[in-house]
């Protein structure tokens, strides 16, 4: 009994809060149906011109994603060791292409930061002229090692058989050490690079999502303009008749 009363009360509460459509909804729908026609099932409603635009943006996003990965994957294998790292200071503009000063392989590393910085600065509305990025510095050690090697005297006689076999043995040992799975743990620098790569991938995804969103907005605006044009034409007809 109490349950039935409660059911009735729920129904009454729903009835009182039930929204009713505004007048003329059927006419508005019929007008839209005439204007747009029925959508093709499973096919986007975009017009051919827009489809090209969508395809173009998707292509750009896909290329950006591929570039990010193609640049990042080799970097993982060629990560500079602490003793062999190269110093590079790169000046990168946030909004323009001027002033990029890097010509070594580390330029690739510097480029990794460019899209993200540009994207974040655009998003945040910042207008700073440029952003500087310093990449790991240990050139002094590198130069010192090169000097030491160049100062060594050249051998006066060819190496003996024993020396060659010993050198081969040492080389083999080093190769085995390199293949040791325990030696595969990533250094902090490598981890930092990988985190950076992940962040770049997320930025690319975000960019793709924004492109899709902008396309939707463009479609809506186009529809609105078409609708306004139809109304204007209708108004003109009415005026002519008057």
């Amino acid at each position: 009994m109490e349950s039935e009363k409660f059911n009735t009360q729920i129904a009454e509460a729903l009835r009182r809060t039930q929204a009713t459509p505004h007048d003329g909804m059927t006419e508005r729908f019929m007008e839209r149906l005439r204007r747009e026609g029925l959508p093709q099932m499973g096919v986007t409603h975009a017009k051919p011109k827009h489809r090209h635009l969508v395809a173009w943006f998707s292509g750009v996003a896909a290329v950006a994603a591929v570039v990010v990965w193609v640049v990042l994957l080799p970097l993982k294998e060629d990560i500079p060791t602490p003793t062999g790292a190269i110093v590079q200071t790169v000046t990168m503009p946030a909004h323009s292409s001027e002033g990029v000063s890097a010509s070594s392989p580390t330029m690739a590393l510097a480029n990794l930061q460019t899209p993200k910085k540009v994207y974040s600065s655009v998003r945040a509305g910042h207008s700073e002229k440029s952003a500087q990025t310093k990449i790991l510095v240990s050139s002094e050690q590198s130069e010192h090692s090169e000097n030491l090697v160049s100062e060594l005297p050249l051998p006066s006689a060819p190496p003996t058989q024993d020396a060659v076999s010993k050198a081969l043995e040492v080389s083999k040992q080093k190769t085995q050490e390199a293949e040791d799975p325990n030696a595969l743990s990533y250094s902090p620098y490598e981890r930092e690079l990988m985190a950076h790569a992940e962040a770049m991938r997320e930025v690319a995804e975000l960019y793709t999502a924004e492109v899709v969103q902008e396309d939707r907005i463009a479609i809506r605006e186009r529809d609105a303009i078409q609708s306004m044009r139809v109304e204007r034409v209708a108004d003109k007809d009415i005026i002519r008749k008057i």
Binding site: F6, Q18, H22, M41
Partner: protein, 183 residues
């Protein structure tokens, strides 16, 4: 609209005649609008979605096998799915951690007479329903306002009838708890 009229309207729309589309929209748009506006809580958005629902439904009408009253469940199912999809696209709504306000019932329950108390209960119930999740409100709408069977609701919401019954039972319990807490 009788079953025969409905069937002829469906056939007419399947043949692409405007009159068929018009009849079906005029007959079922109010029902669809009621459901989606309950879920979206925005009438302008609800009208746009109602039109989208019918566009989709008419585009897929060729695949619909007419069985009279089956059309209303079919269109409700499309509406429910599209509204759910719209809700998923939206960002999660901010929910106040403060206690919801049921002052209407709490303030007057002690002094109102039998009739007034019932009125206050309904007011309070309206507020409590407003605090339910949108899909819960939709279930209430389908069951208590539209008076559909568990089978039909299960078809519309892609749940099993048992799951529908279970959810409705929980919703009722939730409403009762909220009302008793503030009475």
């Amino acid at each position: 609209m009788s079953t025969n009229e409905l069937e002829s309207a469906i056939v007419s729309a399947q043949e692409g005649r405007e009159e068929g589309y018009r009849q079906l929209f005029a007959e079922f748009s109010g029902m669809v609008f009621g459901l989606v506006s309950r879920m979206l809580a925005d009438e302008a958005e609800a009208e746009e979605l109602t039109q989208d629902v019918f566009m989709q439904a008419f585009a897929a009408l060729a695949g619909f096998r007419s069985q009279g009253s089956g059309f209303s469940a079919w269109i409700r199912r499309i509406a429910y799915n599209m509204a759910m999809s719209k809700l998923r696209q939206k960002r999660p709504q901010l929910i106040s951690l403060d206690e919801p306000e049921y002052a209407t019932y709490a303030d007057h329950a002690g002094v109102a007479d039998e009739e007034g108390s019932s009125e206050e209960e309904i007011e309070s119930l309206i507020a409590a329903i407003g605090h339910l999740r949108q899909e819960e409100q939709a279930l209430l709408q389908l069951c208590y306002y539209d008076g559909l069977s568990m089978q039909d609701i299960a078809y519309i919401t892609s749940l099993t009838p048992q799951a529908v019954a279970m959810r409705l039972s929980r919703i009722r319990k939730k409403l009762k708890n909220q009302l008793s807490k503030h009475s």
